[in-house]
Amino acid sequence: MSAQEHNPLEGVPVPANAPAHGESIRIERPEPGLMRLVLDPPHRSLAVFDVPMLLDLDAAIAEVENEGSLRGLVISGADPLTFAGGADLEAIGKLKTPEAVGRYIAFGQALFQRIHKLSRSGGGTVMVVAAIGGPVPGGACEIALACDRIVMTRDDRSRIGLPEVKLGIVPGWGGCARLPRRVGVPAALGVIVPGKLVRARAALKMGMIDRVTPAEYLERVGADIAMGREKCARKTRGKWSWLIDKNPIALAVIERQAAKGILKATGGHYPAASIALDLVLRSPRQYLADALTEERRVNSTLATNPITKALIGIYEMTEFAKGLAKDHQGNKVEPFGRGAVVGAGIMGGAIASLMAERGMSMRLRDLSRDALDDAVRDHQGEVNKKRKRRHLKNHKANAAIDRLEVTTGPEGFGKCEIVIEAVAEVMKVKHIVLGEFAELLGPNAILATNTSSLSVAEMAQSLPNPGRVVGMHFFNPVRRMPLVEIVRGPQTTDETVRRIARLALDLGKTPVVVRDVPGFLVNRLLAPYLDEAVCLLEDGASPERVDRAMKQFGMPMGPFELLDEVGLDIAGHAGESMHRGYGERMTANKFLKPLVRSGDLGKKTGAGIFRYESGKKGRPKAAGLNPRLPSPNSTRAVSLSHNDIVDRLILAMVNEGARAMEERVAASPSELDLATIFGMGFAPFRGGLLAYADSRGPAKIVERLKRIATSPGVVSRPGGPERFDSAPLLLEVAEAGGTFHAS
């Protein structure tokens, strides 16, 4: 009839380099009665359920269905540590209508249902075994769940799970329907709601998979189970299924607890988690087909909403960031074997510690023996904490401790391939230190600086071979903050940037390459945001209220909490250096000066904006406002609405972001967004600073900025109108009627 019936995947984007029909799946017949489907598409290193794969799977299953006298079927990946990566996120990101999403989901569900129907547990006659390994997320996990048995490679890289919730959707190819049936409701919630991947051993324990085996035996064991040569019993829920999974009372208790946890973790900004909770709770009491229908219905709306688009965008950006460590041929550059850090302060010590833990032989230098002692103590403390929590095996913890050497002297650095300096933020000191280490390390070693405020170009001056000088800006606390700004000076070579990107990734950080401008990217954007908060305080706004407004917007902490965390003195210095760097629009508010003078510097001194008491485990806990906080100079901000507050702070940042974009401080709006999300925790569901601006509409923002610029709290203030004077790029985008991301 119509063309639509011939193409059930209409409207689902096909990858540009899609292979011909039949190339994505290999069908093998290793022995009589056994078939093997190998997902091994030529256009990807890791199979993805994109359109060509789904069509090939359709054909392959048809072939299996028509095969007479088939006893066993094995579904596996290209090798024991490669299976598949789940649904085609790139395609989902481009799906415009709920109908298209529905079609994509329905097609996959139908395929997996056909596998299920073939299988013994689905009433068929074939023993279907998923022989998998490596990361098995999302759709890859779901196809396995449709099989009779799951065998997994025993390896640290083997992880299985359903991370859909992290992308704003819920498992849609039977994950919500099948996992609770397999492992019970509580365990299924523990996997689906946080969207985490589980290690093979833990998955075996909870019954998510049925067998673990070394990579070399995976193929054999898979075939043995499929052909009935090996008995592999499946864990059943037994009475627990009736006591919990199908017991409305128990489920009501679970629901209450889980809902509370979800609200606390997401602040109500991520609906997918609550929806997944609902689906999982109901699934064991439904027919499978009904449960699948619900998954499809729910996802059709979720997948097209802006939150999912934003989260998929972030996922794609982090994938892009991984490419920064690859050369033109797509090969990862060499990692460093031995490195050095100069300056054993809080930052330097933590950087050296993290590098040692991640496998590098490290030498840390400081002139003060006491600073070194503290660094070693902290290093051993961090490693031992991980040892205790079993995040590090005993021997790996020992090795991590062994790998950190410390010294006060200049000897022993000859074999270091990189030095990261984290000494005092004084250009003269930096020059001396880098000059000395340029000599100690030889002409090819990379000289990196962890400066947050000084110019990398100026530091590179007078150093031999300046192409290897680069900024590697970690954020405090080093172990927790996921962003590293790679500051590229005018002479920094591509190779240097790639190697630093590799290092950042190896340390578990996301790198963003930025230009060498004052404050680089994140601190530059934070400056007007934090300063605007102080202006509101000066005009009578309550700090608690401002913090609350910003948290509701989706920031991880309010601006005043952040100021106390950073330290009012440090924030003050940063503000002044921004003022020097950018002129009037960055004029720093002096309202908090008296606090700094009286020694109330924030959390570290027990009082800043807020007063701190010692809470759990002696950690400081906010306990009301600091009584020494200066009284406001006016009451202009008292009557501002929540939205007014948010706009004052966020649009000041958006405007500065537009200027940074214009100066190409980051290479693309996406990278700028990534930096805001990982560097300041900018609400991920909003997709980052410029994505947020795009969703508000640049033209509307221009208008709003105009009004703010002339509002009483801003117009009379030095630098106020300049700060809210729309940036040329913003005006340009607004006039064109476009968005940052589209231009």
């Binding site: 023996r369 070194l372 002692d373 020992n398 790998r403 050497e405 022993g412």
Partner: protein, 435 residues
Amino acid sequence: MSTQPEIVLAAGLRLPQARAGGAYKREDAGHLGAAVTRELMARTGLSPDAFDEVIAGCVGQPHDQANLARVVALRAGLPQATPAYTVARNCASGMEAVTSAVTQIMAGRGDTFLCLGIETMSAYPLLFNQKATDFFGRLAFSRSIGAKLGAITSWRPSMLAPRIALVEGLTDPTNDLIMGSTAENLARDFELSRLDADTYAAESHTRAAAARDAGRFAKEIMPYFPMGASKKQKALAADDSIRDGQSVEALAKLRPYFEKPDGVVTVGNACGITDGATALVVTTKQRALALGLKPLATIKSFAWAGCDPSRMGLGPVFATAKCLDQAGVTLDDVGPIELNEAFAVQVLACRKAFASDSFAQKHLGRSKAMGEVSLAQLNPNGGAIAIGHPVGATGARILLTSALELEAGDHELGLATLCIGGGQGGAVLLERCSA
């Protein structure tokens, strides 16, 4: 030895030695060895694959680090292809590591060795006694509940009495004498008084403190921040058992430890129970220069000798006689002598034996005494009484101290020798290296 290559101590480094149960009480031997090795590699700039083999001396190997040498080599980042073995010759284990390397080089089986002496006496265990061991055996093998109950009721409080590995390890099983008692034998044989012993002990502390303050020890020690340090603890930069202002009067107040009330050996004039680690690079002179190292000393000769186990403290005399004969020199040619201070009376007894004609005739098969050893040349930087005796590490430690003393005191020949539980002595003659 004309065709033999010149074998040298090419580099060396040690950790500060710490009283057992003190600064290093949470340390393990593998970490101590890895730390000193890493620092030595960093300072010398040696490449990790420079070594033919790693040899470590240790008396009480941790039960969970069998073949300690291999554990240390891997934890220090040496290649997996570099083999490693652990040697034990009681108190001379660290020296045995070096002489093993020398022997291998002389035999043409490699030319570059990393030699270590490591001991964590803090970690010596308490053991279940035999009765308790049997009890646990019964419990493990009883199958039925009745048998288990029966086994449990056989428990007796006496099973709680532990066997102390430290004490039993320092006791000679062939004569049941603890080391201190062998020293008391020497005090009687050589008519040494309590005052002699205390005077010597006080001098050891004085010399060690002076050497520390003059920066002499800084040449061999790397400052070290131990694992599991308490909140207030700081890095150790010097041996922590040196007592400033130790006096004969203060020492006189201590009670004899091994033989009460008439003995002369007290905890004050005996060496301390200590943790420590020393690493040395042993290679040929040619190779050392090729590696860019400035050799510390040439190993001119070495010897091992046996003697009466109940007078094991005289071991250095027997070994030194052999060692000097091999090199064709006399005691008068030797400058500084590192004679390990297991006990003050034992050092003094050796000194008397060196100078005694009758001892020489009776035990050494010589007509005349070997010669006088002046107190000034004997342990010029103090010894184990002040800085401790981590048993398996000391042999390597005195070699390092001795080698550095040649340059520091402008001497040609130096001797490092020690007594060994079980009745042995070891001696190594070092010569200043003309590089």
